[in-house]
Symmetry: C2
Subunit: 311 residues, 2 copies
């Protein structure tokens, strides 16, 4: 059976896996990124990680089709370069060329949200669906659009930047420089911001602004806290409107929601689905399920391997 | 050279053309729709129109690959049925089957906004671009997304329903039942509504609410009318935000703007481009031109013929 290596480069960890053509992880390994050591050191450790994953101890050697890598930033696909990776302090780091030369194997790049989406669409919650949009609710809101098993990349690998849809033009300032992007409201960070703003305005709540997390907001919601109720309603209404827009524009069969916030389960999904139906055209909403992601942290390595298995 | 017939079914006229594989119109004809006569009569007249277009007088007979038809409503592609065409009062009208049987040629359906977009992307203002989004500003806001020369249809041929992106959740009621859809603000109808509302509120203006058109608003704008200025700023800001969202999500190479409102030229395009850059991620905006449509009323028949030429 054909196999490939998937690498998920993150700010804290580099995850790698040997994945077969059915999407099964045969072996995986995780190493710290240690961003401060710089790009050459990280690329060298990725190279050695790929070698280890290619021939895990005790396993028969297999033919490796290639290596796919998810990059947490902007890439230039023509040159195989990471143009900008804020978390790692990278600018214009050549990745594909050097690794391909050392490994003598094809190397494929995409951004981390796209490979995670591809993983979920391939063998996760979007399995066997023609068109899937996968959204990760974490520090930001990441997204990837999968059409017939392929990532929609757009002309400069910018497609799927769902987190920066401007939904509240007079809203909070986003890292991107614009105001009111989806991720200022509906990410874990956005939920915490909304809660803290209400608390600072003196509204009565059981929440403690100190070290507040989005999970804390969901805990408070369960206890009937009014601020938490208002915040989650706001976050799910805005996210539901974004999903409604995406349903009208892309008309997918499924939207897969992952990331830390998705762990809240029904407390997130019930108001989210209600909001989605408030905003999507009825025919588009009817055609589209909204479901939780199931691959968790493996989505990235599995999707990255898919890039090399089905180029 | 291969040729096909493109049909653009509208509420008032049925346009048809014989189109060669380079997108050139060899012959065209337009007949009144006469919606009141009902579907069987209209389908019969489309059938006879196709026969005339297939062998125009004085032209050597050519091999016709098939017939493409743009339908102004919702279609079911599996059954070849128009599920709902509000303008014609149609519900569940079988189109593909009956025509294919009578013509003994392949028949392809898509919605009218999609075929117009396909025409512009193929041989119009989106020519030679990988990914194009084409938007028509008329009574509503129609849209079509063309990826590598093919219409993005989605799972139930609902993709590209750009006019129903909800951008102002507390905004005006839309025909679709939701509030604040793009087309409530940035269509010709939306612009007239905004102007009339300001006039009814007693704001001083040179515009006459009687028989007001969007062209009148642009005329008043040129004369420095403050209400017109405000209305066009609002309409272009909202449309620019929609285009910004589409750029972040789809990352196209070009957006083509057509329809009656696009005739306003720079008065529309200059503030629209400014708004677009205010809302799109910089890298997505930089990759994407915003240009006027060039095919005019021919876009639909040309795009419809493309369906049959490149199925």
């Amino acid at each position: 059976m054909r196999s490939a290596i998937g690498i998920d480069l993150g700010g804290t960890f580099i995850k790698g896996a040997l994945v077969d053509e059915t999407g099964k992880i045969l072996y995986k390994e995780e190493i710290p990124t240690i961003a401060m050591r710089g790009a050459p050191d990280i690329l060298d450790r990725i190279y050695r990680l790929v070698l280890r994953l290619s021939a895990p101890e005790g396993m028969a050697p297999r033919k490796i089709e290639g290596v796919g890598i998810g990059i947490p930033g902007f890439i230039d696909d023509r040159t195989g370069t990471a143009i900008e990776v804020v978390n790692l302090g990278w600018r214009n780091v050549a990745i594909r060329g050097p690794l391909r030369t050392k490994l003598d194997k094809p190397v494929y790049l995409d951004n981390d949200a796209n490979v995670a989406a591809l993983g979920e669409a391939w063998v996760g919650a979007g399995r066997n669906r023609d068109t899937a949009i996968c959204i990760t609710l974490g520090t930001g809101v990441g997204g990837g659009i999968i059409l017939n098993g392929k990532v929609l990349r757009g002309v400069t690998v910018m497609a799927g930047e769902i987190g920066h849809m401007v939904l509240e033009p007079d809203g909070a300032l986003c890292n991107c420089g614009h105001r009111g992007c989806l991720e200022t409201v509906s990410s874990a960070t956005g939920v915490v911001r909304l809660a803290k703003e209400a608390l600072q305005a003196g509204i009565k709540s059981i929440m403690d602004p100190e070290d507040l997390t989005s999970a804390d907001v969901f805990v408070a919601l369960e206890k009937g806290d009014e601020v938490a109720k208002h915040v989650i309603l706001h976050a799910t209404d805005t996210l539901g409107r974004a999903l409604g827009i995406l349903a009208n524009v892309i008309n997918p069969e499924v939207m897969v929601i992952g990331g830390g916030m998705a762990k809240a389960g029904d407390a997130l999904f019930v108001p989210l689905r209600e909001a989605f139906e408030r905003y999507a055209l009825q025919r588009a909403a009817k055609a589209c399920d909204i479901v939780p992601a199931i691959l968790g942290n493996d989505a990235g390595v599995v999707g990255a391997a898919n890039l090399a298995l089905f180029p």
